[in-house]
C-alpha cells in the first residue's frame, strides 16, 4: 500500500503496530491515515479514537477484515472518513484515497476539486476548467451531495433528503429529472453520474 501511494505521488510513513502508529500520529501531522483495524499492540479503533480526541482532522481510511456491514460502518461512527474491506483491489483503494483527500481538502479550503470540476462551497458555484457553470440551487445541492460521497453510491432517498426543505414532499421522479439535467450540465466535465436502478447514483470521474 505504501508503495502504491508512493507510486501516485504521496510521501508515506508506514508503521507496523498500533502503539507505533499512535506515537507517529502524536509526533507528526498527516493529511491521510490508512489504518488497519486489527493491529498488534493497540487496536486500530483505539488509535482512531485517540487521534480524534486530540482534535486531529486528518483524513482516515480504515482497513477491515471484518465482513459484516455493521462492523464495517462502526469505524465511520467514531470518526473514520471511509473504510475498505480486505482484501481489496488496488485501483479501488486508490480511488478511495483520492475521494477522501478531495473531501478533506474541500472541507478545509471550502473548495472540492475533482479533475476539471471544482465546487465552491462558500460561493455555491460549480466550475469546469475554471468557467462557471450555471445551475439551479437544487441541482447544486444534488451535486454537492454526490461530490461529498464521490466514489460511493448515494441512495435516491438521501438525495431527496439533501434537497428538500422541511415539510416538503419531493418525489423520486423529481430527483430523476434533476439528475438528467445535471448530467447535461456536466457533459464534458470529465464526470458522469451513473444511475444504478434500485440502488442509487454514483458520481465517477470518466477517465477512471
Amino acid at each position: 500500500m505504501a508503495r502504491a501511494l508512493e507510486h501516485i505521488g504521496h510521501v508515506v510513513d508506514a508503521v507496523g503496530c498500533g502503539l507505533e502508529a499512535d506515537a507517529a500520529l502524536v509526533a507528526e501531522s498527516f493529511d491521510l491515515v490508512v489504518l488497519d483495524l486489527s493491529l498488534p499492540g493497540m487496536d486500530g479503533l483505539d488509535v482512531l479514537r485517540e487521534l480524534r480526541s486530540r482534535g486531529s482532522d486528518a483524513a482516515v481510511i480504515v482497513l477491515t477484515a471484518r465482513t459484516s456491514l455493521k462492523d464495517r460502518v462502526s469505524g465511520l461512527d467514531i470518526g473514520a472518513d471511509d473504510y475498505i474491506a480486505k482484501p481489496f483491489d488496488l485501483t479501488e483503494f486508490e480511488a478511495r484515497v483520492r475521494a477522501v483527500l478531495r473531501r478533506r481538502t474541500g472541507k478545509t479550503r471550502k473548495i472540492i476539486k475533482s479533475g476539471r470540476l471544482s465546487f465552491d462551497f462558500d460561493g455555491r458555484r460549480v466550475m469546469v476548467d475554471g468557467a462557471i457553470v450555471d445551475m439551479p440551487k437544487r441541482e447544486l445541492d444534488i451535486l454537492e451531495a454526490l461530490l461529498c460521497r464521490s466514489g460511493r453510491v448515494v441512495p435516491k432517498s438521501d438525495l431527496i433528503e439533501a434537497i428538500s426543505s422541511f415539510g416538503e414532499d419531493l418525489s423520486e421522479k423529481a430527483i430523476e429529472l434533476y439528475i438528467s439535467r445535471l448530467r447535461k450540465r456536466l457533459a464534458g466535465s470529465g464526470h458522469a453520474i451513473r444511475a444504478l436502478r434500485g440502488i442509487g447514483y454514483l458520481l465517477d470521474e470518466e477517465n477512471q
Partner: protein
C-alpha cells in the same frame, strides 16, 4: 456396533422363567394333593361298603359263613356306572370264600378288628383299590373269624384327580400367560423414556449440538448426562476447529492483500507484454484464492452460528440487498458491470427471521457468482413475495449454468470441479438452514443464469 440381547426379552425371561418353575412345582403338588383327596374320599366310601358287608355277614346253622347283600351296597354299585366293585368274604378257619375269588389279599394287615386297611393291587389285569378288614361273626354256635375284601377299579378316582389337576393347570397357564403379557407390555412402557431419547437424538440435525433437556426418569438420567457431556465435548471441539478455520482465514487475508497489491503495482511498472500477462495470471489466481478464503470463512461462520438459534433476528431483506449492492456498485461499475436492484414490493416489507451475517454472506456470494459470469455485463437482482416466502432472484447475462451442474453445485457435498467452488453449496446450506430453498430457474430478464432464493416471510410482530 453389535446388537446385544434384547432388554425386553431378558427381563421377560428372568420374570417368566421362575414363574414357570413355581407353576410346575405347584402343578406337581396339586397332583399329589388331588390324588390324596380323591383317595381319601373314595376310600371312605370303600370303607363304608366293607363295613356294610361286615354287618351282613352271618353264620348259618351249619357253622358256614354267609352274607346278605344289602340294598345300600347295590345302590352304590349302580352309582359307580363304569366302575367295577369286587368283593369276597373269607372264612378264616376254612379259607373258603364267598364272592370273587383271587382278590389281592393280605398286602397290609389291619391292626384291629372292624377297621379296614387300604392298598392297591391288580385284579383281572386292572388296577384296583382294596379295602381289607377283619371281623368276627357270632351266631348260635362259636364265633367265626372272617375277612372282608372289597376292591374297586380306579377309573373314577383317577378321573377326579386328573380333573382337579387340569383345572389347576388351566389356572396356572392363565397366570403365566397374563404375567408374560403384563411383563412384556410393562417393559415396553418402562422403556418408553429410552425410545423418546432415541427419537429425540435421531431427529436432531447434525448441527444441533444443544444439550438434551427434556424430563427423564432417574433410571435414564445417567445416560442423558453422559450424552450431554459427550455433546458438550463435541461442540467445544467443533468450535475450536471453526475458530481455527476462521483465524487462519483472517490471517491469510492480509498477506494475500499484499500479494494482490504488489502484483497490481508490478503490472504498472512492467512494459514487457509477456511478463504483464504472467503477472495478470498470478493476480487472477490471487483473486480466486481470496474468494475461496472468503467462502471458507463464510462456511466457518455458518457452521459456528447455525447451532445458536438465539442469533435469529428480524431482517429486512430489501435493506440488506440495497446495502450490499450499494457497497459493491462502485467496484462493479469500474469493472464494466451494471448492477440493478428491482424491488417489486413496497419498501421494508420483506422481513425474515435469520442471522444477518449469514444472510449478508448468502447474498454477497450469489452477487459475486452472478458478477463473475456476467462480467462485463448486467446483473439484475429482483425481489418479490410468493406464497408466504420472500423471493430474491439473481440474474446475469453470462453464458448460464447447466442444470445438472447447478444441482451438483447446490448439493451438500459439492465438487470443486463444477466451477462454482464452495460458494453455491454454502448458499444452499444457509438458505436451507433458515427454512428456505435455492434453485436454478429460467431467467426472464437476462439471457444468463437465474438463481432463485426463497426464505419464509415473518411478520415483524413475531419478534415481540
Amino acid at each position: 456396533m453389535t446388537v446385544g440381547r434384547s432388554i425386553r426379552r431378558q427381563l421377560t425371561i428372568w420374570l417368566i422363567g421362575p414363574l414357570l418353575l413355581v407353576s410346575g412345582t405347584l402343578l406337581v403338588t396339586t397332583f399329589f394333593e388331588a390324588q390324596e383327596r380323591a383317595t381319601s374320599v373314595y376310600d371312605r366310601m370303600l370303607a363304608a361298603v366293607a363295613l356294610s358287608f361286615a354287618q351282613h355277614v352271618y353264620v348259618d346253622g351249619n357253622g358256614e359263613i354267609g352274607v346278605k347283600l344289602p340294598f345300600s351296597i347295590l345302590a352304590y354299585w349302580d352309582s359307580l356306572s363304569d366302575e367295577h366293585l369286587y368283593y369276597a368274604v373269607v372264612d378264616v378257619r376254612t379259607s373258603s370264600s364267598i364272592g370273587y375269588p383271587g382278590l389281592p389279599v393280605g398286602l397290609k394287615e389291619p391292626d384291629e378288628l372292624g377297621v379296614p386297611v387300604y392298598y392297591q393291587g391288580f385284579y383281572r389285569d386292572t388296577p384296583v383299590r382294596v379295602a381289607y378288614m377283619k371281623g368276627i361273626a357270632g351266631g348260635v354256635g362259636e364265633a367265626v373269624p372272617y375277612n372282608v375284601i372289597v376292591a374297586e377299579t380306579m377309573g373314577q378316582r383317577t378321573a377326579e384327580t386328573h380333573s382337579m389337576l387340569l383345572h389347576s393347570a388351566i389356572r396356572l397357564t392363565l397366570l403365566v400367560v397374563v404375567a408374560s403379557a403384563v411383563v412384556w407390555f410393562g417393559v415396553y412402557r418402562g422403556l418408553r423414556p429410552l425410545r423418546n431419547l432415541e427419537r429425540s437424538v435421531r431427529r436432531r440435525s447434525p448441527e444441533d449440538l444443544r444439550p438434551i433437556s427434556y424430563e427423564t426418569p432417574p433410571e435414564t438420567k445417567a445416560l442423558v448426562d453422559a450424552l450431554n457431556g459427550f455433546i458438550a465435548r463435541l461442540r467445544h471441539s467443533l468450535e475450536a476447529l471453526e475458530d481455527f478455520a476462521g483465524n487462519v482465514g483472517h490471517q491469510l487475508r492480509t498477506p494475500l492483500g499484499v500479494i494482490r497489491a504488489n502484483m497490481s503495482l508490478a503490472m504498472r511498472y512492467e512494459t514487457d507484454p509477456v511478463k504483464r500477462e504472467l503477472l495478470n495470471d498470478a493476480a487472477t489466481s490471487a483473486y480466486d484464492l481470496s474468494h475461496l478464503i472468503d467462502q471458507l470463512l463464510l462456511m466457518s461462520r455458518a457452521r459456528a452460528r447455525r447451532a445458536d438459534q438465539a442469533k435469529f433476528e428480524i431482517i429486512d431483506l430489501g435493506e440488506v440487498l440495497a446495502d450490499i449492492m450499494r457497497e459493491d456498485a462502485p467496484v462493479s461499475a469500474r469493472a464494466g458491470l451494471e448492477l440493478e436492484l428491482e424491488q417489486n414490493e413496497p419498501e421494508s416489507s420483506l422481513f425474515v427471521a435469520a442471522d444477518t451475517v449469514l444472510i449478508e454472506g448468502l447474498f454477497q456470494n450469489l452477487l459475486d457468482n452472478a458478477k463473475r459470469y456476467a462480467a462485463p455485463g448486467n446483473v439484475v437482482v429482483s425481489t418479490h413475495r410468493e406464497s408466504g416466502n420472500a423471493v430474491v432472484i439473481f440474474q446475469d447475462d453470462g453464458p448460464g449454468i447447466d442444470p445438472g451442474v447447478a444441482d451438483a453445485a447446490f448439493s451438500r457435498h459439492p465438487q470443486f470441479a463444477v466451477g462454482h467452488g464452495l460458494g453455491l453449496a454454502i448458499c444452499a446450506d444457509i438458505a436451507r438452514h433458515f427454512g428456505g430453498s435455492i434453485a436454478l430457474v429460467k431467467s426472464h430478464k437476462l439471457k444468463g443464469a437465474a438463481i432463485k432464493v426463497c426464505l419464509p416471510l415473518c411478520h415483524q410482530g413475531d419478534n415481540d
